[in-house]
Symmetry: C2
DNA sequence: ATGCTTGCAAACTCTTTGCACACCA
DNA sequence: TGGTGTGCAAAGAGTTTGCAAGCAT
């Protein structure tokens, strides 16, 4: 099995292999070829890819990586906090989000798209609300607002 | 603090069969025995039942109802707006929510429970926020805040 | 060297589908 | 009666698992 080859086709602002290894190490995960590739693919793919989509991307570079490994790896990424799973009412399959910073989602009811949305003012508003109106018997640690609606063109 | 929207809260009283027929008719659905039972079970079951759980409940009264019918029926309920599907990052299976009024969800990271949460003040806060800070290219029509955290005993 | 990871394929779970029969409007 | 809805069983999609062999540390 070859190590990560140089990617003449890869996008400009992609983290290099050393940075990916570092991220894995920080998360307490061994830096295997597969994990590096899967992490790279997650960061590369737009939107909220499924395990299947990540696999398709990974296989371009390393055709022997199995879908099962992608599932196991994505699970370990989620467990390690490298990745999140996106909540969705639509579709049967899981979607992953490489953006682990707090953010919200716009759900387009027409196109079924899930669009990332960040707004620090909104975050502050919500945090302040729960700081003053504490929930009973529940300690919140993160919030995500799901905004359903439709795109205006 | 902004005024609360008026919040007429009806307890989950058991609608009789005539009321259920009426709800189905209003939604444009034929009132079959199965649909009446499934709707009744949805309203009866606490939390956010899966198709499987609804089926188990329905079969107590009418043992011949098939799981396939429960799936088809729940889909038609969602399409008709009688029921919602709950978004979840956890678990593989779909959950349904008979409460079609706007509300939020607490996701307990320990027990994986999904707990309903309503707070008109919070709703007003969010609505006000988006009324003043409109989204670009997006017309929101509903909001649901997902609050992850853990129960305190 | 040790123990975590991987690939493979089979098993599993959840959901959908096709079709003949049954039923509501 | 006509057109929908239902039951059944098989198929399909997505995900998990067990184990032998392969790597990272």
């Amino acid at each position: 099995m070859t190590l990560l080859s140089d990617h003449s086709h890869s996008l400009p602002c992609q983290p290099d292999q050393a940075a990916l290894r570092q991220r894995l190490a920080t998360a307490g995960l061994r830096a295997t070829t597969q994990r590096i590739l899967i992490l790279e693919s997650l960061l590369l793919l737009p939107g909220h890819p499924t395990a299947e989509q990540v696999h398709r991307q990974v296989v371009l570079t390393e055709p022997t990586v199995s879908l099962g490994t992608v599932y196991k790896t994505l699970d370990s990424f989620v467990a390690a906090g490298l990745t999140k799973r996106v909540a969705s009412t639509e579709g049967a399959c899981r979607r992953y989000d490489s953006d682990c910073t707090a953010h919200h989602h716009l759900y387009c009811t027409d196109t079924k798209e899930i669009i990332d949305y960040s707004n620090p003012e909104l975050d502050a508003l919500i945090r302040t609300f729960f700081a003053t109106h504490g929930l009973e018997n529940f300690q919140p640690h993160s919030f995500s607002l799901h905004i359903a609606g439709s795109r205006i063109s």
